[in-house]
Symmetry: C2
């Protein structure tokens, strides 16, 4: 016990549970919270609980959203012939921030990782195949029925016109798990008339060739393209 | 708007208000919060609000605590002849962690910083003088009456025997504001029969002379002591 207040100590303990927040940062945050107005603190606390209470999983793309289907899936302005496969909702945020992608998403909820005991059945892989095949009448990994049509029926949103998927872009991280998952999904989708691509791996913009690691450099060479 | 959920967006916004938490970390925390159980999130949210609701300022040392006087001021085992003056409650935490200091504290609530518009009257300087002079019958910076005896009367805690303060240790940060505050307090306390010291400034333990900045090195030389 280094604090003179058990309440502060409890707060520091709670804050330390969050990722990227060590004991030192937690102390600093606690000191800041004590200086904030009660209203401000209540607002943060409410936002945290609201996220748990209100946020749902889109039953089409499995992204987090306030409604299902999510605004992207329900949009009439997105290109429905392209589906971008990502690991986590945060990857959707990252891609949306670029403003360059106008297609739909599919959130796997992880990547294949035998070391962590994560296999294809723990991910939304079957649901992806369902979307590509145009027969999304499969039970999801969690046992819920994820029928695109049904998701729309329940929401009362007018579903955009169904369009066959022409391209699946695998936007998975360039590491062992991402590679494994990409290869696995690529093989699964071989059976369908759909183009499967993967986002480029190479030197980051602003990066320096001199300081790039060998794996990145090899991949950058391998992936070279015409001017 | 890069999120598909306004609730998540609101949470990220709220979290970004905290120090050391940028938009990226806020996104990461939000993703983690969505994965936590509702109970865990409620626990964190409650701890934050509880800190605002339950934590009070000790009316003797002005540290944060669950009760006034705080456990340190109320303790019969601390050396009441030594008072360590610090800027913030977090400095008390840091010093208590060493386990080396057995005296009492006095939290100024800041340091003199003309650039930020903070003068001696915004700090608990008068209260410090009150404690040293043995006549702590002054109104505090915030206008409340901070009378040590009264603080004890209200709490019902048996006050430890009053002991005259023999030494005031200024544990202020080694920067311009800390130096200014130290000099100011030193001059104020000149009128009393009390030894005023300041914690040593020099090379940090494990630090490297070669990489130390000149100011630190100068101070380390100046503060050299016998073996």
């Amino acid at each position: 016990m280094t604090h003179t207040s058990e309440t502060v100590e409890a707060l520091v303990e709670q804050l330390s549970k969050l990722p990227t927040i060590g004991r030192k940062t937690a102390n600093r945050l606690a000191a800041y919270i004590l200086k904030m107005s009660r209203e401000e603190v209540v607002e943060i606390a409410k936002a945290m609980v609201a996220a748990k209470d209100r946020v749902v999983t889109c039953q089409v793309c499995f992204n987090v959203a306030d409604y299902s289907p999510c605004p992207i899936c329900a949009s009439h302005r997105r290109d429905r012939s392209v589906v971008c496969v990502v690991e986590d909702p945060s990857d959707v945020f990252a891609l949306e921030r670029t403003g360059d992608f106008r297609g739909l998403y599919h959130v796997l909820g992880g990547v294949i990782s035998p070391l962590d005991g994560v296999g294809p059945n723990d991910l939304r892989v079957r649901e992806l195949v369902g979307r590509i095949s145009g027969k999304p009448d499969l039970t999801t990994a969690s046992g819920e029925v994820a029928e695109t049509a049904e998701a729309y029926d329940e929401s009362g949103v007018q579903p955009p016109e169904a369009v066959p998927v022409e391209e699946v872009i695998l936007a998975l991280n360039p590491n062992v798990e991402g590679d494994t998952t990409a290869v696995y999904i690529g093989q699964l989708l071989d059976a369908f008339d759909v183009k499967v691509t993967r986002i480029a791996r190479g030197l980051p913009i602003g990066g320096d060739l001199e300081f790039a690691d060998e794996a990145t450099l090899s991949r950058a060479l391998e992936g070279r393209s015409g001017l």
